[in-house]
């Protein structure tokens, strides 16, 4: 087993990996950019090395600097987390060249999956179901028109090198095809430096369901069940759950076996995720493979009772998977809310700033994977994910109830967050009935928020505001606390304070 691991990431996932290492008795090395000196992952690690300016290309995306820290610190392996360099084949290769183990798949497996069209050709040979369309880039508008007519409208144009919805166009009829193709190509060229675009039949109201796989370096590949990730905004996941409410054990087995075939076709090792689109008749189609640990991995951990980061590290250390497919069972239900620093009242724009108050929630069935703390200033330079609040229950209803309760206790003050969005989702009747598809959230957000507010709450707020003012306690230094038993002295101090507050108000 490794003695020391470098974590080439920041935020909650860096903390998550550091925790797993410490549980396994492995020392940890953090890297941080100039704006992350006070970040939580630096506080939690055993060693920490500055790697440059805030801009990710100068720090978290800088392969040379990270490899150099691995050398200087004597780290034997690098965990890339998600995002940043996690799916960068050049980085995986650079690790090999430097004699450091990359905790993830090989560069060759990443390359096989990195291009959507190349992955598709390999998968077709392995008998993986695809959305009807072309498996390679379109050469001409004539070819596009011919394929679209054959598979039937609506069709989707997609950038081969794409992700995050860039270079994607939905085309309803032949009259829109030419302009959409040109737009998709130029957007793909601008975003990825590659204008290759392919065409697929558009699945109406699809669900997005993905299968977690694990593969060791001895030829054993397992599937660990699916995650329902249909709740998305702008093609970004917002809330995920496991198991999917529409997948039964038979469908899980079929999807899982396809996912294992996908992984085997690419000689895949370590943790990975095979994404599927599922139509209203529950046909599933291969979408892509994510060659990393996913943000939403905790829901799988809770329902399988496995620690994916521990297993990733064991696999990278050359161990065999300690279980077989028959040992994997799904128990209960888990659901994850991605808590972002963003403003629900301003079209979910990022809202960095100082966290002035943080009240965590806990209690039965609640897990919080967080990268923030009270007093920390959220930098403006990175993805605004602050934490993940995950609820677990014996069934979906109990998981929702626990998560709803926990969201009521959870409070992040000083910056705007999307916590209120989750209260709305979890109380939505269609969500409770598990009527989910990738358009769910946009439709919900177009409706007016009709959540009831206690009509007396405004009066309570008025009284509370007055009490804060009278105590001089709003934002000011601590005054008289309930659990401070030091007696008269504090009372006098607080009187003095409220007097000064009164003076200030004049």
């Amino acid at each position: 087993m490794f003695k020391k691991i470098l974590v080439a990431n920041r935020g909650e996932i860096a903390v998550r990996v550091i925790r797993a290492c410490h549980e396994m008795g492995i020392a940890t090395v953090a890297v941080y950019s100039d704006v992350d000196r006070a970040a939580l992952h630096v506080r939690k690690a055993d060693e920490a090395y500055p790697i440059g300016a805030a801009a990710a290309v100068e720090s978290y995306l800088n392969i040379g600097k990270i490899i150099d820290v691995a050398r200087r610190s004597g780290a034997e392996a690098i965990h890339p987390g998600y995002g940043f360099l996690s799916e960068n084949a050049r980085f995986a290769q650079a690790c090999v060249d430097a004699g450091v183990k990359f905790i993830g798949p090989t560069a060759a497996a990443m390359n096989a999956m990195g291009s959507k069209t190349r992955a598709r050709q390999a998968m077709e040979r392995a008998g993986v179901p695809f959305v009807p369309g072309t498996s390679r880039g379109l050469d001409s508008i004539e070819e596009a028109a011919e394929v679209a007519a054959r598979i039937g409208y609506p069709v989707m144009l997609k950038a081969a090198a794409g992700g995050g919805g860039k270079g994607m166009r939905l085309v309803h009829g032949p009259d829109q095809l030419k302009s959409s193709l040109e737009e998709a190509r130029s957007e793909a060229e601008r975003s990825f430096g590659d204008s290759e675009v392919y065409i697929e039949k558009a699945i109406v109201n699809p669900r997005h369901i993905e299968m977690q796989i694990l593969a060791d370096e001895h030829g054993n590949t397992l599937y660990l069940g699916e995650r329902e990730c249909s709740l998305q905004r702008r093609h970004q996941k917002v809330l995920e759950e496991a198991p999917s409410p529409v997948v039964d054990s038979e469908m899980r087995r079929r999807m899982g076996e396809v996912a294992v075939r996908v992984a085997r076709a690419a000689n895949y090792t370590n943790a990975g995720t095979v994404e599927f689109l599922v139509d209203e008749q529950k046909n599933f189609y291969f979408l892509e493979m994510n060659t990393r640990l996913q943000v939403e991995h905790p829901v799988t951990e809770l329902v399988t009772d496995l620690d994916l980061v521990h297993l990733q590290i064991r696999i990278a250390a050359g161990e065999k998977l300690p279980l077989t497919q028959e040992d994997v069972s799904i128990r209960g239900h888990a659901m994850e809310c991605r808590i972002y620093a963003e403003d629900p009242e301003n079209n979910y724009f990022p809202s960095p700033g100082k966290i002035t108050l943080l009240l965590a929630s806990s209690g039965p069935g609640i897990r919080e994977d967080s990268g923030m703390y009270e007093g920390w200033t959220v930098p403006m330079d990175y993805d605004p994910l602050l934490a993940k609040l995950i609820g677990y229950g014996s069934d979906r209803e109990q998981a929702i109830a626990r998560l709803t309760r926990a969201l009521g206790e959870y409070f992040v003050g000083g910056i705007k967050t999307n916590i209120s969005l989750f209260r709305r989702i979890l109380s939505d009747p269609d969500f409770r009935d598990a009527k989910l598809d990738t358009g769910f959230l946009d439709r919900m957000l177009q409706r007016k928020d009709d959540q009831r507010v206690d009509p007396q709450a405004a009066q309570v707020a008025a009284i509370a505001a007055g009490v804060f003012a009278a105590l001089g306690a709003s934002g000011a230094a601590a005054v008289e606390f309930a659990n401070d038993k030091s007696g008269e002295k504090t009372v006098r101090a607080s009187n003095w304070k409220s007097t000064s507050r009164r003076e200030a108000l004049r």
Binding site: A341, D343, N346, F349, P350, S351, P352, G353, K354, T356, L357, L359, M380, D381, Y382, D383, P384, L407, G408, F411, G413, G414, I415, K416, S420, R423, V453, D454, A457, A458, Q459, V460, A461, A462, I463, A464, A465, G466, V467, F468, A469, A470, L471, A473, S474, G475, A477, A478, V479, E480, F481, A482, N483, V491, R502, L505, R506
Partner: protein, 170 residues
């Protein structure tokens, strides 16, 4: 103490006195039984009669004297609040500052990526004035009122902090 409290735009007259740890409270002239304990900074355990509430206080942004930056949360409901001493001159002056020039401030630290209007341009309420980028997202700063751009203080490419004045609309 007498306070004028504004909660989400609605005004309340609040009389609060505390003697030997006990509160007496009148809200708009009606007596209310209040018991308050500050659990920690910014967190108040409030009892009104026997109903118990956890109240959170927060200031958004770094500019403390910005109007409407103080929020009080009752459970999961957020209220914008302002507390004034009705006898103070300043509170009357503050109530009047909706008229006259308005400042456009940066809602978050970031970089000005586009300036959409110039000094002297006429703008409608809600019209985009400039675009600030933070965390890879672009945020359009809109005019709070109909008027003309009296001053444009921001330039494209310049880094700004939360609360920085970017432009003034008259």
């Amino acid at each position: 103490m007498l306070y004028d409290v504004t909660i989400d735009g609605k005004n309340y007259r609040l009389e609060l006195e505390r003697a030997e740890g006990r509160w007496s409270c009148r809200l708009d002239g009606h007596e209310v039984e209040v018991d308050a304990v500050l659990a920690r900074q910014d967190v108040l355990s409030l009892r009104i009669g026997n109903r118990a509430y956890e109240i959170k206080s927060e200031h958004i942004g770094e500019v403390k004297d910005n109007k409407n930056d103080w929020h009080v949360w009752v459970g999961s409901a957020r209220f914008a609040c302002d507390v004034r001493d009705p006898r103070a001159l300043r509170s009357r002056a503050r109530a009047a500052d909706d008229h006259g020039p308005r400042k456009l401030t940066a809602p978050m630290p970031g970089k000005v990526v586009r300036v959409l209007v110039q000094e002297g341009d006429a703008v409608e309420a809600g019209a985009g004035v400039l675009v600030v980028e933070a965390m890879k997202m672009q945020n359009e700063i809109k005019s709070p009122k109909k008027g003309t751009i009296q001053k444009m203080l921001a330039a494209e490419g310049v880094a700004v902090n939360a609360g920085d004045v970017l432009a003034i609309v008259e």
